[in-house]
Symmetry: C2
Subunit: 385 residues, 2 copies
């Protein structure tokens, strides 16, 4: 397998973009990535999208978007793994380059979620869970994560305030991200006083419904060195894993086995451990998710994830900053786009191009993108070379 | 890249399977492929599915089905390219093995289409077209292919009876396929007298709405030789291409540019021409589609595709048999499964295991799987080694 670099990234301003179609949003991000890479041709493209059918009435996005970009007849492939669709699309773009099948490949993610009403969006999101055993009985995603949070709080003594501190930290980071959907800062008290969604999860514990896209251009490192000035950002690891989709089948409701498994594989590929990371972009779809992810990644001990944000360990100036971009919580969560936007943040951090939210001396970063309640996880590690 | 073989295939009996869930259907096919391969572990799996959201209210099928098979934590990836989803899933399973990323990979396809009513199914299928420029204005897939047929008939003199002969041939082949949804034979007169759907397309020109799944196990050829007796079936070529998604953007309504492009690439990889093929399995979603595909594959000259079935050129005992399985027309068309079922037929033909529908001296076969009106095409060539 060849060494692979990310040579360009792009993303539009995320939010409720009613005045733009899914094509417009995606094209903005894709063209920015191509311009950043300094290339005007591609050999293949991938798009991560969770539910084109339910959100937009449009499947066949690989072909449609290759056409939209004027890049036909290149192969266009849509990859889906619920909220991990973007990460898995990036992984397949990576494999396409690493294998030698293609040289210049565009990895993108897209979701246009606000053209349907809230009930339809909640239904569409529930198709990431086990519909026959979970969704059909009325449970929604805040409900599923609320059960995971309850177990974590009961077993490990994780507090309501510790969950709130994840939101406080990520909104603080997001306040320095000009593309974030909700860049406003929040206090722990505001989070704890916000509307209850599914006890103990409140509205300010939840990532939002978002329209958005993100894009990255991949190339072999050899080609990247000819095309780009240093620093070159290399993909040091790419791994994916699954877990039981329904919560009732899990051995442990308070443990993300797919994230642990993918992380083990990725650390092995990169020949590093979690303490070697300069920062992580992780899947904080709910505050409890980040608490559990930092444990599964080995950043904190099992059961101790609640202390991550509370102690400052995961703050921008902490030991290992988590979600310098603002995360899903502040930046927004257009589900299919999220995994690719994490890659964009990692690349910009490693280039030292993040302004106020720049992680000091960033040399190696990890992205963790997760589907459903953790039934799928995709992890990548990036390093400056 | 490593040489890759298909070491096991599976498929359930296709039809209106109201008594079975999508899990049941998929599992039948997957377990048959594993048993045929003689393996009980996998390193990764892929599933092609067009619209899990609209047909089944279930996305995240990669994780769900890896779990269903008891194969977690292996990576499970869903690939979508409308009706070419199965072929594209197979291609990514192939790339995963060829690249060295994984050794034993399951490629599957699935669609459960009959749990929604006819109107909802027609809407779901229309999401393979350009919804904003085609679907929202009321056009359906029979309507789109009817326009392509009109141009072909007007320009090349293709006759109504020539279209009917595609259905006659494929139902004759399908009458020898015990897993076909509609194994009954039809006459040209029956096709031409059947209910009009979108002039000139009649109901017996159309492939049906189907529940079904198909599966294949891939491995490096070196491993395959240790696991299986000869003949080993090798993947000699894998190629994908796209075209403009909306018909109004095409240069030629009567030409399938994505199929031509993918075929050119595939022939180059396999170092053969169309005349070297023993048989083809192609995407006859409508009779006119097969007419146009045999031209784009180079089996017949441009404009002469209508003569393929009429002259016997594409019959089971013809020069190059097309759709010995019965094709989408008779076997059924559970859209995400179709591309993988084509692979199954190719493998069984090359093993000489097709009974009454066996192609004599089959040594090399091509599968062509197409999305929408040809916005995407995936082609594979298989050979006995």
């Amino acid at each position: 397998m060849r060494d692979v670099a990310v040579i360009g990234v792009g993303m539009n301003r995320w939010g409720e973009l009613w005045e733009k179609s899914h094509r417009d949003i995606w094209t903005e991000a894709a063209l920015e990535a191509l311009a950043d890479a300094g290339v005007d041709r591609l050999d293949a493209m991938y798009v991560g999208c969770m539910s084109g059918g339910l959100f937009m009435g449009q499947e066949h996005l690989g072909a449609l978007l290759a056409d939209q970009l004027g890049m036909g007849p290149i192969p266009g492939t849509r990859v889906e793994s619920a909220c991990a669709s973007g990460g898995l699309a990036f992984r397949h773009a990576y494999l396409a380059v690493a294998s030698g099948e293609h040289d210049l490949v565009l990895a993108t993610g897209l979701e246009k979620m606000t053209d349907v009403d809230g009930g339809a969006a909640t239904y569409a999101l529930s198709t990431a869970a086990d519909q026959e055993y979970e969704g059909y009985h009325g449970i929604t995603f805040p409900g599923l994560y609320a059960m995971m949070a309850r177990v974590h709080m009961e077993r490990y003594g994780t507090t309501r305030k510790q969950l709130a501190m994840v939101a406080v930290k990520n909104h603080l980071h997001g306040s320095m991200n000009p593309l974030a959907q909700f860049p406003g800062k929040v206090t722990a008290q505001q989070v704890m006083d916000s509307v209850l969604v599914a006890d103990p999860i409140r509205i300010l514990d939840c990532s939002p419904i978002t329209d958005g896209a993100a894009a990255a251009v991949l190339a072999p490192v050899d080609l990247a060195k000819r095309l780009k000035k240093s620093p070159i950002v290399r993909v040091a690891a790419s791994a994916a894993a699954t877990d039981c989709i329904a919560l009732h089948d899990r051995q442990d409701l308070a443990w993300l086995a797919s994230t642990q498994r993918a992380a083990e594989t990725a650390y092995g590929q990169a020949r590093i451990g979690p303490s070697d990371l300069s920062f992580c972009e992780v899947h904080d779809c709910f505050t409890i998710a980040e608490v559990m992810v930092v444990e599964a990644l080995g950043l904190m001990d099992k059961g101790q994830g609640g202390k991550g944000a509370e102690s400052g360990f995961t703050a921008l100036d902490g030991r290992i900053p988590v979600n310098p971009s603002g995360g899903l919580k502040s930046k927004g969560h257009p589900v299919g786009a999220t995994g690719v936007a994490q890659v964009r943040e990692a690349v910009l951090q490693l280039r030292g191009a993040c302004g106020g939210r720049q992680v000091k001396n960033a040399s190696r970063g990890l992205t963790q993108n997760m589907g459903g309640t953790g039934a799928s996880t995709v992890i990548h590690i990036f390093e400056r070379v």
